[in-house]
């Protein structure tokens, strides 16, 4: 049988999140804007320009070994603070069992940020979804197009100024209004008995 049952080692502690944040601050002092801590989880807020260097440092350095990109998402802080968007990377190391969160600030007037697909291939679809929902453009992405919504949809739904119920029926997605029109035309052939 090719499958082995193992008893995994009990809890081993890697580096403390605050130590990891300190080391990032030492290596990239001009990039780090702030370090926050909430319920034992540390976030490092950075500027967007050298995000790929920071991520490569965290991935390749043998002390950290952040090989698992748990999540990549965007957040819209419309009206709450400038810059408006943030791209959040949740990183985890399977070997050392420590984790960190990196938040890259993206301004509204220039929503570009470099892609990390060269480090983690799994970031490909996460970044496509971020583009779809927020409109953040990832420079260098192999295939940046909408993933969850139809390709010719207008608007970015998860922005705070997009209505929950969607666009007005007149300005709706043309694929759907075509279906409604077609069903109205074919109504005469339906069984009325």
């Amino acid at each position: 049988m090719a499958v082995v049952l193992i008893r995994m080692a009990p809890l081993i502690k890697g580096l403390e999140p605050t130590d990891i944040a300190e080391k990032i601050k030492e290596k990239f002092p001009e990039e780090v804007v702030e370090v926050t801590n909430f319920r034992d989880q540390t976030s490092v807020i950075v500027k967007k320009d050298r995000n790929i260097d920071i991520c490569r440092y965290l991935h390749d350095d043998p002390l950290f070994n952040f090989d698992h990109l748990q999540d990549l998402c965007g957040v819209d802080y419309h009206g709450k603070k400038e810059p408006r968007f943030e791209v959040v990377y949740n990183l985890y190391s399977i070997k050392y069992r420590h984790r960190i969160r990196v938040r890259a600030q993206v301004p509204e007037n220039d929503p570009n940020i470099r892609t990390v697909t060269s480090i983690w291939t799994g970031a490909n679809w996460h970044e496509r979804e971020c583009f779809d929902m927020f409109g953040i453009i990832f420079k260098g992405h192999p295939d940046l197009r909408r993933i969850l919504l139809p390709e010719d949809w207008e608007g970015h739904p998860l922005r705070k100024d997009y209505p929950l119920k969607g666009p007005e029926p007149e300005k709706d997605w043309p694929g759907f209004t075509d279906v409604l029109k077609r069903s109205k035309e074919l109504k005469e052939f339906e069984w009325a008995g």
Partner: protein, 173 residues
């Protein structure tokens, strides 16, 4: 040699059906064709979301669909009913309509689950508020998801509806 029906012993079994024992049945064409259709409804597999799992459970051994003559067909061209089970989104709506158009007449639509009936708990930008905005629905089966017995009741209501149809087989409509 023609039979004079007044002299021969015709027994009326139910309305519009008379028997000449032992093996001659005189009835309307409506009854026979409707009986044939309702005893073998063949739906297209159109499971979209959570209700599809309950539909699969109805098709499995515990609540058997096959004893009603209902067999799931893969292709819409070979079926006569579509059970829309699950949320219809705006991206999926053209596909649903296309599959419905491909089913040959006579065809029926069963909207299973709250999402297919009226949009359910999802009042958002990509959800169609009920598949009856673009499809003519015959039976609504509400529930989130409806129990398998509820779906069976829905199919039986569809059978009742089919039983009462008049001249749906004829070219004169």
């Amino acid at each position: 040699m023609l039979i004079d029906t007044s002299t021969v012993g015709l027994i009326q079994v139910e309305e519009d059906t008379k028997i000449l024992p032992p093996n001659v049945i005189i009835t309307t064409l409506d009854k026979i064709i409707n009986w044939g259709r309702l005893s073998s409804i063949w739906p297209t597999t159109f499971g979209l979301a959570c209700c599809a799992i309950e539909m699969m459970a109805v098709g499995a051994a515990h609540y058997d669909f096959d004893r009603f003559g209902i067999i799931f067909r893969g292709s819409p061209r070979q079926s006569d009913c579509i059970i829309v089970a699950g949320t219809v989104t705006k991206k999926m709506a053209p596909v649903v309509r296309r599959v419905y158009d491909q089913i040959p007449e006579p065809k029926y639509v069963v909207a299973m689950g709250s999402c297919a009936c009226t949009g359910g708990i999802f009042r958002t930008y990509n959800t169609v508020q009920g598949c009856d905005t673009f499809l003519p629905v015959d039976v609504y089966v509400p529930g989130c998801p409806p129990r398998p017995e509820t779906l069976l009741e829905g199919m039986m209501k569809l059978q009742e509806k089919m039983r009462k149809e008049k001249a749906r087989w004829s070219p004169w409509r």
